[in-house]
Amino acid sequence: MDARLLEPSVLRRLDALAVLVRRAVKGQMGGEHRSVSRGRSPEFADFRSYTPGDDYRLIDWNAYARLDRFMLRLFVAEEELPLSLFVDLSGSMDWGRPHKAQTAKRLAGAIAYVALASLDRVRLTVFADGPTSGGAPYRGRRAAQELFARIQSFPVGGPTNYSRLVWPIARQRPGLTVLITDGLGESPIEPAITALRLARQEGAVLQLLAPQEIAPDWTGDARLKDAETAAEREFTATPATQAAYRTALAVRTQEVEDAARRRGLRFARLTSDQPVEDMVQRTLRQVGLLG
């Protein structure tokens, strides 16, 4: 069941994608991303003077003939990209048709697979009231199924507390962090976004909503129950109250988007009725997260 988080046909099409970063990264192992270090890729980077201890195989003998001094030919090092996925599995995600949490897991799995296929290192963290680590970083395509099984194993529920994401985000090595959430928890999302910025992370916020919460399809009397806090309130839905709700939702989502963009993060709003393949191939490519 775990291995079926994403269908093989979807995975085959994801093979052609790669996670994009705007600036060079510093990883621990070789990968397919430009590193701040000089390395052994075919891509020429610069010259520098030879100093004892350097690999004499990198001496450019043509430059020596012209300049009469040893120059080292430097190439761009290609290193792995540290990718951190933070997936919201709070109670508010346990809702909607299609189910928001399940869609978030599939989306996270798809992004992780793209990264793993590019030899990037993927760290998975799910959160609700607090963060829960998804274990040691995953690397290589073969780790994908393990990551899928792991992400499927997390329960869904509890309130959202973005402020408790500050520490896990701050301790990340510079890289790319993707936050998948509905942004609807009672606690503000600002601390988590600020932490991304301070940790010099390239970040992306993917806000995932269900169609039924964007346009409620019911009216009349009801007892409303909060999916996260289980708080209840009696309520009479009328066209006027539905309009007020839609306005509040629009304000909230706009706040999330503004916070992300203000801090230079990429932002995309997704709905759970979108096919994951469509989210990846279309939306995430449009915002420059994948390419």
Partner: protein
């Protein structure tokens, strides 16, 4: 104010029910939402949140209670007293004759009368009944003793006006028939007063009083009152009468056309009340001729008339006499008769003649065809007893159509055979001593005259040729009469020998099939215009025509009658009582309820 449906007050129980529903705590379904804090903190106090809570002001509850109260008020059917005074049983007599098509009141007299009757229906009380009878020929009962307003309105709306006359006597007879003994009834007569004269039998009165509601205001009308085509040996001509019945001089154009096209246009000027007779040419090939005037008056039915111009088929008639100028001349007046005269000694019997007249002669064998036997000689099987002196004569039945326009007042007969014992047929003209003229239908239409016309001054009177004309038309009716008929007047059609189908095509194109084996009476003559009779025999179709025109001085006169002589009401055992009708106001109250419901809907959507 009166409530027509007081039982509907029981519906007021809905008011406390609404209040009770408001106080009852509702069971709300639980809905899980991802972010409760995004939903406005709003709960509608349409209903209580806790059982039997202290009532709080709610616009919705107030509007709901108001709407329910107003609906209950409408269901009670409150009514205000109206001006009309109605009896428990109202008999409405509506004139549906031709003159009610006049448009001197908008849209017409008939529609105006219907509007007034409609208002009267609305004013009927819960216990009141109404009978609706249309005055036409024959009259019809549209609704009998009904208190159902809707049914009465529907029946009234379906009524149409006819082109015929108004037989008020028959309508009053019907009205008397629907009245129950001891019932308080009152008749309301909606008419312009242009009705057929009342029968004398109504002088004894009716079991209800009649209230005359005059309809119509003006008698301005120019009409075409007669159109006849006469054929003589020399020519054919049409005689047309135009009459201005109004109080003002009128100028108009007469359009004269045949079925082949326009013949003439003439400008006419008529003083108030003036009639003008015109002689108009008729082309030889014309089958029908039509006169039309652009009178632009209040009444259109008499602005166009049509006559049949085709010469009727000729009959061969044989007169067997030793000499009788009176009979011969009277027979020759018929232009469609070809009269042959034979002396009794030359008579051999022939089937070539459609009719034979035997004057003081009786053949050895009577023909199997129509005949007239005048003063049969002794020895004849039709001869009567010995001669008796007569003197004055009279009609056996003054209303007999065979005596139409025949005056017998000054007629004397010197002597006649005693026909008292004759079993020939019924008496047409009789005397104190003996029947004088007898007629029979079987086996053929035949006439027996018991006296020699020379022993009477009857041949010297105008009634004699008219009687011969009437009798000969009766004995030899044309297959299709070519003259004009009045609307709704039955037309006798004698199918041609060997006809396999007889169809009448009405002016509107509709077709009526008639039986071919017997003389048929066609009564669907309600439309004005030309009727075509198609008879098919041996694969050939023969067409003949008759026309239906208004030709009614009474209808065309058009001026509504101010005072109509009506039968008195009989003395009643109890005094007649009437009450004011009711003016229902519930539709307005129902409209108010609708406004309140809309207001409640708006209040709900605006979150009040």
């Amino acid at each position: 104010m009166t409530f027509l449906a007081p039982a509907a007050a029981a519906l007021a129980v809905t008011l406390p029910v609404i209040v009770a529903l408001y106080f009852l705590r509702i069971r709300r379904p639980t809905r899980v939402v991802p972010a409760l804090h995004l939903w406005p903190d709003q709960i509608r106090d349409r209903q209580a949140n806790v059982p039997w809570q202290r009532p709080r002001f709610s616009w919705l509850l107030l509007l709901q209670l108001l709407a329910a109260a107003v609906l209950v008020a409408a269901a009670l059917q409150p009514a205000l007293p109206a001006t009309a005074s109605l009896a428990p049983h109202s008999i409405v007599l509506l004139d549906a004759s031709a003159s009610m098509q006049a448009k001197d009141v908008h849209p017409s007299r008939f529609d105006e009368a219907r509007r007034e009757i409609g208002a009267m229906i609305d004013e009927l009380g819960p216990q009141d009944r109404m009978t609706l009878i249309t005055i036409q020929t024959p009259p019809r009962i549209i609704a009998s003793g009904s208190g159902d307003h809707d049914a009465m309105h529907r029946a009234l709306g379906r009524l149409t006006v006819s082109n015929g006359s108004a037989d008020l006597s028959a309508a009053l007879t019907l009205a008397a028939g629907v009245t129950r003994a001891g019932e308080q009834s009152r008749a309301y007569l909606f008419t312009d007063g242009i009705v057929e004269p009342l029968h004398a039998s109504f002088a004894n009165g009716l079991p209800f009083p009649i209230e005359y509601r005059r309809v119509g205001v003006s008698g301005e009308n120019v009409g075409l009152m007669s159109l006849v085509v006469r054929t003589s040996a020399q020519s054919r001509a049409a005689y047309l009468r135009v009459h201005n019945f109004g109080q003002q001089a009128r100028s108009l154009t007469l359009e004269w056309r045949s079925d082949a096209g326009l013949i003439d246009l003439r400008a006419l000027s008529l003083q108030a009340g003036q009639a003008q007779d015109l002689v108009l040419p008729v082309p030889d090939a014309a089958a029908t001729v039509t006169a039309r005037i652009d009178a632009k008056d209040n009444f259109a039915l008499d602005d166009s008339v049509t006559a049949i111009a085709r010469t009727p088929r000729a009959f061969r008639v044989l007169l067997v006499t030793a000499g009788n100028r009176f009979l011969e001349q009277a027979l020759r007046l018929r232009t469609d008769f070809q009269v042959d005269v034979l002396a009794p000694t030359d008579y051999k019997g022939s089937t070539a003649y459609a009719m034979t007249v035997f004057d003081r002669f009786s053949p050895p064998a009577l023909p199997d065809s129509p005949f007239v036997m005048v003063d049969p000689p002794s020895g004849s099987p039709l001869a009567g007893g010995k001669a008796v002196g007569i003197g004055r004569v009279r009609a056996s039945d003054a209303g007999d159509p065979l005596l139409t326009n025949v005056t017998l007042q000054d007629v004397r007969v010197a002597r006649s055979q005693d026909m008292s014992a004759s079993r020939f047929g019924r008496a047409l003209i009789t005397s104190v001593q003996t029947p004088l003229v007898l007629v029979r239908d079987e086996p053929f239409r035949q006439v027996l005259v018991g006296f020699d016309v020379h022993d009477s001054d009857f041949p010297l009177r105008i009634g004699f040729p008219i009687l011969v004309q009437n009798l000969s038309e009766w004995m030899l009716p044309p297959s299709v009469p070519g003259h004009s008929f009045h609307p709704d007047e039955p037309v006798t059609i004698v199918p041609e020998s060997g006809a396999t189908s007889v169809t009448v095509v009405r002016p509107d194109g509709s077709r009526r099939q008639l039986a071919t084996g017997a003389i048929a009476t066609f009564a669907d003559t309600d439309l004005l215009g030309v009727y075509t009779v198609e008879q098919t025999a041996g694969g050939n179709t023969d067409r003949s025509w008759f026309s239906v025109n208004l030709f009614s001085d009474a209808a065309s006169q058009l001026a509504p009658v101010d005072r109509l002589a009506l039968p008195p009401a009989k003395a009643f055992p109890s005094p007649q009582t009437t009450h004011h009708g009711f003016l229902g106001i519930w539709p307005w109250i129902a409209l108010l309820a609708l406004v309140l419901v809309v207001a409640e809907w708006l209040a709900f959507h605006r979150g009040l």
